[in-house]
């Protein structure tokens, strides 16, 4: 037993490394789809006002927006807010803004549409109606951008499947290797067992179990490591778009179970290959 401990630790380590990549990818992908889903379901619109628009006109615009189905005014950005934000966004490069003689930026409303399926909303029609109002200078919406992100997600999923498959092969290879070595180191024992009349399965079963255990622990350790890494990630606030930090989620419960089971199955497959090649001799 002792002699195999080192091999098993070695393969467990390499296995966990492979599975870690796989798991990290799963988490990343899950979060990406989450984010894209969120953005997709909350279509947002910026409505720019003409300079010097009267309060009366603004109230009418305000009321019009509130009457749109599913629409919520996230905030109103005054001309002053707009220039401050631009300054903050440009940082040092924004030095030139100090030298502006007057504020060129327009005031705007930021509006989100929180309908169950924003895809069916006719954004172009709403835009046209808004432009028809007195005092509205321009309208921009986020639809095209989400479309592009979904294409990107599709590619990520494809690449992920290919890499995931390769990594699974790696895991199987690791286990096969480890079990082969165990079998090799116990070949005398195997020979003797057969000489005293043990059936093939009596000899094979312990190795299959060993592979299963290896796979189980590999999967379990990986989940553990991923979770620790996840906690570390959560403690940091990461800003990607906009002022709210990204929200990370871990693999859902049933994914964890599937992950560990798959890793166990990979272990069994690995030892199966090892056994097939060795014990018949």
């Amino acid at each position: 037993m002792k002699r195999n401990r080192a091999v098993h630790l070695l393969s467990l380590g390499t296995m966990v490394a492979c599975l870690l990549i796989l798991g990290a990818f799963l988490i990343l992908f899950g979060n990406l789809s989450n984010w894209v889903g969120q953005w997709g379901s909350t279509l947002s619109m910026s409505i720019y006002l003409k300079d010097g628009v009267s309060d009366y006109k603004r109230d009418k615009i305000d009321a019009f927006i509130r009457a749109l189905p599913g629409a919520r005014i996230r905030r109103f950005i005054s001309k002053e807010d707009a220039i401050e934000e631009l300054k903050a966004a440009l940082g040092e490069e924004g030095g030139f803004l100090e030298r502006l003689t007057h504020n060129p930026l327009p005031a705007s409303y930021e509006v989100v549409f929180e309908t169950a399926d924003s895809n069916r909303m006719d954004t172009e029609e709403i835009k046209a109606r808004l432009l028809g109002l007195d005092g509205v200078a321009d309208v921009q919406h986020s639809r095209q951008w989400v479309k592009r992100l979904e294409g990107f997600l599709h590619i990520v999923r494809l690449v992920g499947t290919v890499i995931g498959g390769l990594l699974c092969l790696c895991v199987v290879f690791m286990v096969t290797n480890a079990i082969k070595l165990t079998i090799y180191s116990r070949r005398d024992e195997i020979e003797i067992l057969k000489l005293v009349g043990a059936t093939d399965w009596f000899v094979k079963l312990p190795f299959l179990l060993e592979g299963a255990v290896l796979g189980f622990f590999g999967g379990g350790l990986t989940i553990l490591a991923l979770f620790l890494g996840y906690l570390g990630l959560c403690s940091k606030k990461i800003y990607l778009l906009g002022p709210t930090p990204l929200e990370f989620v871990f693999l859902p419960g049933q994914y964890v179970a599937v992950f560990v089971s798959v890793s166990m199955v990979l272990g069994i497959v690995g030892s199966f290959i090892a056994i097939g090649r060795f014990i018949e001799v």
Partner: protein
């Protein structure tokens, strides 16, 4: 019980058994002798199905070993006890476990396994060593573990390859008494040995192998 027809066994250019015909009936006690390298071990291994003949047929209990499946062979081996010339003990298992394994593979109940194993270890005088590991045993003690493992399952056929090479004359006598008991209970016993003392002690059939042929077969 054991029948060999025109059996040939070669290792590369080395013809070890050349057209051997042997018939051993149920309940016989037979010695196989001959000089070193004559093929005694090879003959026993052929009968055990551990080696395949290059030509000819071997029948054990009317089963042809050339046609037997792997699982049938395992079942057959449970009825055959083999004392290996090089013992073939598991170094990482205790004496007790080494002997018990021959019963465990048959699926016997643990309680019975323990009882039979203890009993057999007492027979070969190794009861005090049952918790020792083979590498810490003397040559003679290891040989007796090998004997115990072969006889623990009350085999129908007992094949013993130089079973007393590491034993002193007194122990040799004791072991021969054991073998004769097994023989008297109806088992077929085949003993390969160089020892003139062993053969001289008992009046029985002796097969003398030499240069691939049966040189003498005294009934």
């Amino acid at each position: 019980m054991i029948q060999l027809f025109q059996v040939v066994k070669t290792f590369g250019p080395n013809v070890v058994l050349n057209n051997i015909d042997v018939k051993i009936s149920k309940g016989e006690l037979v010695f196989v002798t001959g000089p070193s390298g004559a093929g005694k071990t090879t003959l026993l291994r052929l009968i055990f199905g551990a080696e395949r003949p290059c030509a000819g047929h071997i029948l054990i209990n009317a089963i042809n070993l050339n046609r037997i499946s792997r699982s049938k062979l395992a079942l057959l081996r449970r009825k055959i006890g083999f004392v290996f010339q090089d013992f073939k003990l598991l170094p990482h298992k205790t004496v007790f476990e080494n002997v018990a394994i021959a019963l465990e593979v048959t699926g016997l109940r643990p309680r019975l396994v323990r009882k039979k194993t203890h009993q057999t270890l007492r027979l070969v005088g190794l009861a005090p060593k049952e918790k020792a590991y083979p590498p810490s045993l003397s040559g003679g003690e290891q040989q007796r573990v090998a004997i115990a493992r072969a006889i623990v399952k009350d085999p129908l056929i007992l094949l013993a390859d130089e079973p007393t090479g590491n034993l002193d004359p007194d122990l040799t006598q004791d072991i021969m008494v054991l073998f004769r008991n097994i023989h008297q209970r109806g088992a077929t016993v085949v003993i390969a040995t160089h020892s003139r003392q062993l053969i001289a002690g008992i009046e029985c059939r002796t097969i003398v192998l030499n240069q691939g042929n049966i040189f003498e077969d005294m009934g």
